[in-house]
Symmetry: C2
């Protein structure tokens, strides 16, 4: 079974504290990984978490506030030093070309591997063959996008008993049928995949939504996802502050999760004003029960439904 | 007595490891501090070390390799969020204006306080009234400068017995004499400072030299300093590699220290290829006895000579 695992690298807002680094999440699906945001220090968090930058096929930067992007030059530099050779898809806000060009010109960063730049947009930004990343426009103080990672639908389960009953000999024909190909038995009988496969199973999905005011657009884009990672910078007692700074409160994040019918909600981008997770959960869970507060280096497995 | 204290924030080369962060040193003289280089994560190291970014009057960036500068946007951003209001002198390579301009334009960093940019040069780059910072051109793969911080000369010691013998009443006149002013006694006798003060005492000095091939220019610039912090990326067994990459070996750093007649040498910018300090010291101390290997968060007091 392909593993889908989320590792939070930084779960704080604005500036790093000893407890919470700045924004970054690493999501691994099978052998490939994607990093959403790249706050300062995320490359050190990757070392501490024991996950591998070498698996990254994409980095996606939501917006150009320093706490979401300042780790990028160092991360790409280190990947190059460590012999990363694959092409990396770098998704980010308009202007990211110019940022990379100045870094290269000053010699701060000259990536030692191909970088394909894709500008943030409400579209499929990457399709690896195993999953897609789609952008969703957010409501922050400057152009900002969140992302939805969707695993491609998986083939239906192979019905072994049925295959035996149909007289298909165990071996390569099983694999052909699982891959959606018809096979011909020695008897001349043709077996089509639908005879032995159950219905296709929907792939899993993870949404990363930071930074933003609550948004109907988000509710629509993240509808039914397995995991919603949503910023919740402040408790609702600081709602005016959240509004002014273009952020969501814990209550608002929970309301988004409920409205979108997601399976699990992880709160992130937590202000250092709120050190007590119990307070955060007390505000969120009456609205959306399956809420957790992300912590740096927390790892979350997202299993396929039984 | 004014305290002079060096705190190593990052002592590794190229990329951070769990043991050694990338280049950064914090030097505090009295209430003011200077940071030499600003590798990624140095703002977190400042938190861990328990020193204060609010004391910084200057940051000085030796050159535009990522491991020396990638922490700068985050460090300045956080200082602003924490209410830093003083003017900061930002010393760095030609092009640093353009770097700041792009960061500001993209909204990655808009410092919330005045920043005065000074380009690296072989000149006095800052004079705070208590100390100067002077640049020295290094030999690396791109334009690079090291720095010498020199405390201003201190007034000579006040000779209390002599003052009493001259009939100077204890009180404000002592202070005037210590500040170099003459005073007139009630008797009409004029006392000049040289009558009660010993010879002026030379201020202390700390040199930060990274990254570079060994250089006669450095020997001259750091002559007799109290503390020489010199890069020593590799053991001499990797001398060809050091030459190719524009770095110094441990042996070469020790030779510079000896030739310059400095009081103490701290090796920094240590490659992760060399985890064993004993090996580094075994190479350095036969050439220059007063050698130490810098470690992250190591603090060093530089006392005035007795």
């Amino acid at each position: 079974m392909t593993e889908l695992k989320i590792t939070f690298l930084g779960t704080g807002s604005a500036r790093p504290t000893p407890r919470r680094g700045v924004a970054s999440v690493y999501v691994q699906l099978g052998g490939d990984a994607v990093q959403f945001d790249c706050g300062e220090g995320s490359q050190m968090q990757i070392l501490r978490a024991g996950v591998r930058a070498s698996r990254l096929v994409a980095m996606a930067i939501t917006h150009f506030h320093g706490d979401h992007v300042n780790g990028l030059p160092g991360a790409l530099g280190t990947m190059g030093l460590n012999g990363y050779e694959d092409g990396l898809t770098l998704i980010g806000p308009a202007g990211i070309d110019r940022y990379l060009a100045v870094l290269a010109d000053l010699q701060i960063l000259r990536p030692a591997f191909p970088v394909r730049v894709v500008e943030n947009d409400e579209a499929v930004l990457l399709d690896t063959g195993a999953f897609t990343i789609t952008g969703v426009r957010l409501r922050h103080r400057l152009p900002t996008h969140g992302y939805v990672l969707r695993e491609h639908d998986l083939p239906g389960r192979f019905d072994l008993e049925r295959a035996r009953a149909l007289g298909i000999p165990p071996g390569p024909k099983y694999g052909q049928l699982q891959r959606g190909e018809s096979v011909t038995l020695d008897s001349g009988v043709v077996i089509t995949p639908d005879q032995v496969l159950g219905p296709a199973r929907p792939g899993r999905s993870v949404a990363y939504i930071s930074d933003t005011r609550p948004s109907d657009r988000v509710v629509e884009a993240v509808h039914g996802v397995d995991v919603l990672i949503h910023e919740a910078t402040y408790l609702h007692s600081l709602a005016p502050h959240a509004r002014e700074r273009g952020h969501s409160t814990v209550r608002e994040a929970a309301e988004i999760a409920r409205a979108a019918g997601v399976k699990r909600l992880f709160l992130t981008h937590i202000s250092s004003k709120h050190p007590n997770n119990k307070e955060l959960l007390a505000e969120a869970t009456p609205i959306f029960e399956a809420t957790e507060v992300a912590e740096d280096l927390m790892a979350v497995d997202v299993p396929l439904p039984a």
